[in-house]
Symmetry: C2
Subunit: 154 residues, 2 copies
C-alpha cells in the first residue's frame, strides 16, 4: 500500500503558501523550490483548488494562495483532496454461504484501524506543522517566504 507522492508535494506547497501569507505564488515557482515537475504539480494544485483549500489568481503577479487560515486546513483535508474519500480497505464481501445479514468482522476491524488513522490526520492542521517547524528552526518560514517572493533572486 502506497500513498501517492503528490500528497507529500501538496502538503509542502500548502505550508509554503501559509508562509507566503496571502502573496500569490505561481505553480512554476513552487515546483522549482522543491525540484518537482511543474506540469504535474499543477495537477495536485488544481485538486487542492477543487477542494477549497487553495485559490488561484491568473495573470502576472498571479498564482496560488491558501484559501483558508492554516488552522482550518487539516492533513486529512489535503489527503482527501488528492486521494479521494474512498477507504484503502474495501470489503468485496467474499464470505461464503450466500447473503449475510451481519457486517463482515474483517471489514469492521480494518475500518476501525483506518478511522484511527483518519482521526490523527484530522487532528493536525497546517498551523500545527508551522509551529513544529518554528520550534526546530524559527527562521525557516521567513526564509521560504523570501525565496518564494515575487521577485526571484536571479
Amino acid at each position: 500500500m502506497r500513498m501517492a507522492e503528490g500528497v507529500e508535494w501538496a502538503l509542502h506547497c500548502c505550508l509554503d503558501l501559509a508562509w507566503a501569507r496571502g502573496t500569490p505564488v505561481p505553480a512554476a515557482r513552487l515546483a522549482a523550490h522543491h525540484g518537482l515537475p511543474a506540469a504535474y504539480l499543477t495537477k495536485q494544485l488544481q485538486a487542492l483548488g477543487r477542494a477549497g483549500i487553495v485559490r488561484s489568481t491568473p495573470g502576472p503577479r498571479g498564482g496560488y494562495l491558501l484559501d483558508r487560515p492554516p488552522h482550518a486546513v487539516t492533513l486529512m483535508d489535503v489527503v482527501t483532496a488528492l486521494e479521494g474519500a474512498d477507504p484503502a480497505f474495501r470489503c468485496t464481501e467474499i464470505r461464503a454461504g450466500g447473503p449475510h445479514t451481519t457486517r463482515c468482522a474483517i471489514d469492521t476491524a480494518m475500518t476501525r484501524a483506518e478511522l484511527a488513522w483518519r482521526r490523527e490526520l484530522a487532528g493536525r492542521t497546517l498551523a500545527d506543522l508551522d509551529a513544529d517547524v518554528r520550534r526546530a528552526d524559527p527562521d525557516a518560514p521567513a526564509a521560504t517566504r523570501a525565496r518564494l517572493s515575487p521577485a526571484p533572486p536571479a
Copy 2:
C-alpha cells in the same frame, strides 16, 4: 491509496484455517470457497508461509494450516506479510535549502498517523475476529469448517 485485495483474501483464509483447527486445507478449496482465482490466491498463501503465519504440507490430504494459535496472529501480521513493512507515506525530503538537521515535520505527522493505524491492527487478532463472528452467528465457524473438510460434498 488502496490496499491490495490479497490482504482481504488472506484474512478470510486465515480465519478459515483457524476454524479448520489443524486439518490441512488445500489452496484450491480455499479459493473455491470464496470464489477466488486459485493460481493467484496461492501467491498470498506463500507470502503468509514466509511470514510464519501459515504452514503447508504437500501430497494428498495436504494443504495449509495455521502455524500459530489464532490469538497469536494479529491483523498487522497479515497486512505486513502481504504488503511489506514499508510505510504508505515515504518522505522524499523535498524541503528546499540544502540538507536539514531536523526531521521533516510533515514526515513526523504522517508517520504518527500511520502508527495509530498500525497500533489498531496490532491490537486485534484472529481470535478477536473469531469471537466477533461467533457473537453474531454462532454456527458460522462450524459451517465453514464442514464446507472445508477433506471430503468435498459433491
